[in-house]
Symmetry: C2
Subunit: 321 residues, 2 copies
């Protein structure tokens, strides 16, 4: 490791906070962690590559935020309490400005959710970021994709489709996602793409309330399809019940807004199923978290996701299309 | 996720074995794992990028092996028992032949050490591989870099320098590391570079015997320097005591062979310190593991690594030189 590499890593290391269960953090061959007795580990890994998962010109701070957000979202969908993460960072060149901006976004989100960076690797290569995030749940309580039951309500958090709307406009050249927009509606959509909010508090609160859960990363239809496939059941979605934001409805035609909500995955909302008897409890939870929770359909004895009676087909982003 | 991507991931998933402590493996938003009570987690992450950490023409099987080996080596240096890992795999294109060959190397080593792949991400991008490996140790027993004591013997496993010799010859165009060599000496060196052996059994056996340990990834002098820096002590190396292999001594001039052993890191041997009173126990361990263990110096009250009385300076690979 050269002095330059060491200095670079140190700019990240100084930003890491302490946690009582981190016995030994960055600086040895591996970290030493003390898991809580009686709990299970929840582990997920996601990679973001420049030019594939985000445009090359994305601001470093937003990349840092999103790199962690997509992993926290996976922990959230399992109902886990975030604890530790590793970061593999490949950089084409090593500028302190870029690192500092990246760290701002990464640690703003990490600190908000009390997840601590405990190791990783900084290498030279095309810009690529891989995080492995670890959390914990009391044994046997995790939310899984395979636990939906026929007759369950299907719920979604927030107002899905906003980030997909921003992405469409960016790709069409009508929105620059790198800087604030004067129109508050575009600004609302832009922030949902640039700095998505992983629904960690919701996921934890759903333990004991929900049956199955998934985070919407590939698109609502595609990810709900994962619940159906793993649970051996079907889903009937009511597209008219989709909770579209005022901004999305104001800026897009009805059909386009609906497509964003059904097939866009960049909001990282949670989709979950729960018994109809839980409706009051979920309404109370929505009020407590100040987060919209909307019932958008029903789990059925069939298979696949039907939308307003039609087969909704596969959606989502295709890496190897 | 497209069908093509799913098929690709499935070629890897079908190779994963079961482990009793994997409650839920690949296929949900995250894995669920049951850590052993009373133990600490040991977590490390390392990345290999094509063209940086290995030449682009490296066979896929060797890449798969080495991707895991470098991480198992970090677990070994902590004295940990390997348990689980995640793999972030970025591929420029997706051929089943490449994936199958990669999986052969990766799982040959994984199965040998009972480490199970429990998640990851397959994305399109320049060839890059990041593994986060997790293991366990009884609480408080891990081998650390900061635990050397003045007067400790310094030990190294195996015959360091072999892989560096092969790398030199490859870079000079005199050895093709991709295929077997007719000369058994070159073949011995080639295998040490292509398929390095992480010293997992040694690391576990050193718990309670050794004070400090590090795996030699940056070079013996550089990595021993990490022990010195973290322990606030110095090291006196006896270069004449270095256990050079017959192959390395036969193929390289003395000074070159010694430089390979002192500054080459690709063997992934362990360097550790132990009280002189442990010499008999370590000799017995070497016999039991059929692995050479050689005392090559002494931990001193000074600072830095001196070699035969001269300051050895920094060695090792520089990513940002």
């Amino acid at each position: 490791m050269s002095l330059a590499e060491f200095a670079l890593i140190n700019r990240i290391r100084v930003r890491t906070r302490e946690r009582a269960d981190v016995v030994l953090g960055i600086g040895d061959d591996a970290a030493l962690l003390q898991p809580r007795a009686g709990e299970q580990l929840v582990v997920t890994a996601d990679t973001l590559n420049s030019g594939v998962h985000f445009p090359a010109e994305t601001p470093a701070g937003d990349i840092g935020w999103k790199t962690l957000a997509v992993n926290l979202s996976d922990l959230a969908s399992m109902g886990a309490r975030p604890a530790w993460c590793t970061l593999a960072l490949s950089l084409p060149d090593a500028t302190t400005d870029w690192i500092d901006a990246f760290a701002e976004g990464f640690f703003a989100l990490a600190d908000a959710h009390d997840i601590v960076l405990i190791g990783g690797d900084t290498t030279r290569g095309p810009l690529s970021l891989s995080v492995t995030a670890m959390g914990q749940v009391p044994a046997g309580t995790a939310l899984r994709r395979d636990a939906a039951q026929a007759g369950d309500d299907i719920w979604v958090s927030g107002t899905p489709g906003d980030a997909a709307g921003a992405l469409r406009a960016w790709q069409a050249g009508t929105l620059d996602v790198r800087q604030p927009h004067v129109d508050p509606r575009w600004e609302a959509l832009r922030l949902r793409l640039a700095r998505p909010t992983p629904r960690v508090a919701l996921g934890r609160a759903l333990v004991g309330l929900a049956h199955a859960a998934v985070d919407v990363s590939d698109g609502l239809i595609a990810d709900l399809g994962h619940i159906c496939a793993r649970s051996g059941l079907g889903a009937q979605l009511d597209a008219t019940a989709l909770p579209l934001s005022d901004a999305l409805r104001g800026l897009f035609a009805d059909a386009d807004a609906r497509q964003c909500a059904l097939r866009g995955g960049d909001d990282y909302e949670l989709c979950f199923t729960a018994a109809p008897a839980r409706r009051d409890a979920l309404a109370a939870l929505a009020a407590q978290l100040q987060l919209r929770l909307t019932c958008i359909g029903t789990i059925t004895d069939g298979q696949g996701v039907a939308c307003d009676g039609d087969d909704a087909g596969a959606g989502g982003y295709q890496h190897f299309g």
